[in-house]
């Protein structure tokens, strides 16, 4: 038996079951059933998982959860007619009838003119370091200790109460296509988000995410949340207007990460992206270089193959402010006359891990980069919504500690503002990035993003007029 994130899988233990054989067997059965139906392409991705969650609030555990399951994603095509389904049972009669029904359905569909097949294997795959840790598989009830550690750290910084969520688990995948792909992989993850409160209006957030226990630090996240909450006590209502914004990695992942995530042909063809027709254009500061990296060491979405079985890779999206290209699956790549970037989603390409190259500033140096506007440090934001996604017109509501900066220090906690601007303007007006970076994924940031601190000039902030 080999682990890492790559297994040829004859057998491994998962809740005492020989799941890999079960997974392989049922995936192969699906593929054969579809092939018997005379389809042109078939992709079956099987996933078995054992995920766990501890939710807490008011310094105590609200609920502990565990999910055990197996699911199969089945895709078939007949010519350019395509159909998909998901099966969550392993009984072969159910699987057979479902796949047969899918094949019949596929033949009744209308042609998808944008469909150009799936990746042609076979491929070779290299393992990705730091994506599997057996210590996470064996974490069990010790997870409560991590939660307790995070809460105690927040309280130690002065917080009165803390709420949050701790996810951890293991997932295994087996993919088989009729185009030469047959491969298994697996991985583990840890995701901890904590929000600390001193009072109703003084809060802070901390995040720690990782694929392995050694790089995970719930106590640090708790300390950060508690520290920000404490600094935010006695905040004042701020005035609307133009500010320079210092964004921590959480907020940077939301505002700057959005543009990298939007480099998706499906979004562009759907009127959901502000990047249509802009490849080769300078869309942002030359300080910004960002890529999608499906093979990122310790990356939360790192995996050796995509949903077509194509090997994942590192794809440059922004280089020194210039939009270099998009992520692709086989069909969108054909439509754009490029090669797949290993980002299938069969219908829509999916980003993996977004990575911003670090800048050359320390946090203290960023605090001292004063300009013509008052400078505001934002530590969290949520509810980012767009008035127009083609333009990038949006607004978002900072929450938790927000601070006016004066003389290179956090001067005064403030509240009550909304960032109401254009997402591309923020990209263009970024003047400095920090050396320090953090991998972010939480409720507001669904794609993992390795983000530095960003300093952005001339941002518009609004607030209620009544």
């Amino acid at each position: 038996m080999t682990f890492g994130n790559d297994f040829e899988a004859s057998s491994f233990s998962f809740s005492g079951l020989d799941v890999s054989e079960l997974l392989k067997d049922i995936v192969s059965f699906c593929v054969k059933t579809a092939e018997d139906g005379d389809v042109d392409d078939v992709v079956v991705m099987g996933e078995s998982y054992k995920n766990n969650q501890v939710r807490f609030a008011g310094n105590e555990v609200s609920i502990v959860k565990q999910w055990n399951g197996l699911k199969l994603q089945v895709f078939v095509s007949c010519g350019r007619k395509i159909a998909m389904t998901q099966i969550d049972q392993t009984e072969k009669d159910v699987v057979r009838s479902t796949v047969e029904k899918l094949v019949v359905l596929c033949k009744t569909m209308k042609e998808n003119e944008g469909y150009f097949g799936i990746a042609e294997g076979p491929f070779s795959y290299d393992p990705i370091p730091k994506t599997f840790d057996t210590k996470i598989c064996n974490l069990g009830e010790k997870a409560i200790d991590f939660v307790e550690g995070g809460i105690n750290s927040a309280v130690g910084e002065g917080a009165k109460r803390a709420a949050g969520v701790f996810y951890f688990g293991e997932r295994y995948y087996f993919i088989q296509t009729n185009r030469g792909v047959e491969k298994g992989t697996g991985g583990t993850f840890l995701r901890f988000t904590i929000r600390a409160f001193v009072d109703e209006l003084s809060s802070g957030q901390g995040i720690s995410v990782s694929r392995c226990l050694a790089d995970f630090d719930a106590e640090k996240a708790g300390s950060e949340a508690g520290h920000i909450a404490k600094l935010g006590v006695n905040s004042e209502e701020a005035k609307p207007g133009q500010y320079d914004l210092l964004l921590n990695p959480t907020v940077g992942a939301t505002f700057l990460g959005a543009t990298v995530v939007a480099a998706n042909p499906f979004w562009i063809e759907s009127g959901l992206s502000w990047l249509g027709g802009k490849v080769g254009e300078k869309i942002g500061s030359e300080k910004i270089t960002a890529y999608d990296d499906g093979r990122l060491e310790n990356g939360l979405k790192s995996m050796i193959f995509d949903d077509e079985g194509a090997p994942t890779q590192k794809t440059t999206i922004i280089e020194k402010g210039i939009l270099k290209g998009f992520i692709h699956n086989t069909s969108t790549a054909k439509r754009y006359n490029v090669e797949t970037t290993g980002n299938a989603g069969i219908i829509s390409p999916q980003p993996s891990n977004i990575v911003f190259e670090p800048g050359d500033y320390s946090f203290e140096e960023l605090l001292n980069e004063t300009g013509n506007n008052p400078m505001l440090y934002i530590t969290s934001t949520r509810y980012t919504r767009f008035m127009n996604r083609v333009e990038g017109t949006f607004s978002s509501i900072p929450r938790d500690g927000m601070f006016l900066i004066k003389n290179g220090e956090l001067w005064k906690p403030v509240r009550g503002l909304r960032v109401s601007d254009n997402i591309l303007s923020i990209f263009k007006n970024t003047i400095a990035l920090s050396k320090e970076r953090q991998q972010i994924k939480w409720w507001e940031v669904t794609t993992p993003i390795v983000s530095p601190f960003f300093l952005v000039r001339d941002c518009n902030l609004s607030k209620p007029t009544k």
């Binding site: 008011g58 399951g69 395509i82 969550d88 359905l105 969520v165 008035m387």
Partner: protein
């Protein structure tokens, strides 16, 4: 449903393992969906979700496990034992034991009404419907073109069997249909663009979709987009009167009233994700809006997208009054929050699937009608104002106090009459100012369907929100 015996077994086994309360819920969802993008059928397919979720109380702590492999009793036994073990382990981090309010134990079966089972309708008919709607749209007029057109059609049946260790048994079957589209139009002269989203949803069978007249609905939206792009002008600045359409009174009822009335938010359980609330127990009975504002949440509305008659804790659903003539009147409760606050659950506990814990959710939240017979009567004394019919952008802070609604279809009101379209008027206003500014509403209430997100992992709940047209005095548009 198949496997009902395993639900009973799960409850029995949980009690044997030492749980003081066990709740097991078997859920099966069958449905199909289609995505038409720019006149091209991007994908079609069907889906099935089937499994068992078990929630337990042990030593005052809560555990939840789910499984979708129901092939043997052993698999269910393992899951229930895990839930009990996890709850027991976490009880060391409970200061106060979780307890549930009392509830009438029921043994019931109910169905959402339907005539034509959505799964009996050929997918070809559904495909044809989307293509027909797309062909209806004038995508390339002399001055406006609409290159981006997304349409998604979802139809599904949801069946549940709930058993609690207190003896409750609830069997339900609810069919639902949901249509959503996003059209993006461009002005050919200046390349300016606007989005036009549509969401329609109901409980019921395919007869509901037949009754919608999607062609007319989409065509109207396209006409509005074109008109706004061709003729839209800057909205007036300064303090004016503003009338909001049911689309906006509805979203405000949901965001500014429904969410902050959720007792789990008020108690901090959603603090790290969805957020908390500006409301609290001490504010019950206080005025937070004008006497013209009454907002309720009612799951029992027949045909509504948020329809249910018993919640996922087996509590009978009923209308909940949240704001009564401007007075903050009540919260949405599950059994846990109700016990904590010394009251009874009002049946707001819902789960998005067998693999999700039930949490407090809205169902159909709306502002009650007023006494103005028409929009014309509502605006007749406005010298200068704006009528915002619908919104595109919206957001609100996590305490649900600072809201923003960015208008899509909107018109200038000049001396009591509607004039030209105005583009993107923005109402950025606090909850109390919004509800406090309303001095009149029309008699007719309209609803929109929506998908409400909450909890962690995020659970998407089908809801309606709605209301009449409402007049706001002396507000400032951004």
């Amino acid at each position: 449903m198949e496997h009902e015996d395993l639900v009973d077994y799960a409850v029995e086994h949980g009690l044997r393992e030492g749980a003081s309360y066990v709740e097991a819920r078997l859920e099966g969802v069958m449905g199909d969906q289609l995505l038409l993008k720019n006149g091209n059928l991007d994908v079609g397919g069907f889906f099935r979700r089937y499994g068992l979720g078990v929630r337990v109380l042990v030593n005052g702590a809560m555990g939840f496990c789910s499984v979708n492999d129901l092939s043997t009793r052993e698999k269910v036994r393992e899951v229930v034992s895990n839930a009990v073990r996890l709850a027991r382990a976490s009880s060391k981090l409970r200061k106060e034991p979780i307890k549930f309010s009392d509830v009438e134990v029921v043994d019931v079966r109910y169905e959402g009404k339907f005539k034509e089972n959505v799964l009996d309708v050929d997918l070809e008919e559904k495909i044809s419907l989307l293509f027909d709607v797309d062909k209806t749209v004038d995508t390339d007029s002399s001055d406006v073109f609409i290159p981006f057109r997304l349409m998604h059609l979802l139809s599904f049946n949801r069946e549940e069997y709930l058993v609690t260790s207190e003896g409750a048994r609830v069997r339900s079957f609810i069919p639902r249909v949901f249509f959503t589209s996003l059209f993006t139009a461009f002005n050919k002269v200046n390349n300016e663009s606007e989005h036009g989203p549509i969401q329609k949803g109901s409980s019921g069978g395919w007869e509901v979709v037949r009754g919608w007249d999607l062609k007319e609905i989409v065509e109207r939206e396209v006409v509005i987009l074109s008109k706004v792009l061709r003729e839209g002008r800057e909205p007036p600045k300064g303090v004016i009167d503003c009338v909001i359409g049911s689309n906006i009174t509805g979203i405000a009822a949901h965001e500014n009233c429904g969410h902050p009335s959720e007792a789990d938010r008020i108690l901090g359980r959603e603090g790290a994700q969805a957020g908390e609330s500006f409301l609290n127990r001490e504010m019950l009975g206080q005025r937070i809006g004008s006497e013209k504002v009454t907002i309720v949440d009612d799951p029992t509305l027949e045909g509504s997208y948020g329809f249910y008659l018993y919640d996922d804790e087996g509590v009978k659903a009923r209308e909940r009054v949240l704001i009564d003539k401007g007075i903050y009147k009540g919260m949405l409760h599950n059994r846990e929050t109700a016990y904590f606050m010394g009251t009874q659950s009002n049946g707001a506990s819902r789960s998005a699937g067998y693999n999700r814990e039930p949490v407090i959710r809205m169902a159909n939240t709306y502002m009650k009608p007023g006494d103005y017979s028409s929009l014309e009567e509502l605006i007749e004394d406005i010298k200068l104002g704006v009528y915002i019919v619908s919104f595109t952008e919206w957001n609100i802070d996590d305490r649900r106090f600072q809201s923003k609604y960015g208008g899509r279809e909107a018109y200038l009101i000049d001396k009591g009459e509607l004039k030209y379209p105005v583009r993107r008027p923005v109402l950025e206003i606090t909850t109390t100012a919004l509800f406090g500014s309303i001095d009149g509403c029309t008699q007719e209430v309209e609803f929109d369907a929506a998908l409400c997100g909450k909890s962690n992992p995020e659970q998407i709940a089908p809801v309606w929100h709605g209301g009449p047209c409402a007049r706001l005095r002396n507000v400032r548009l951004v």
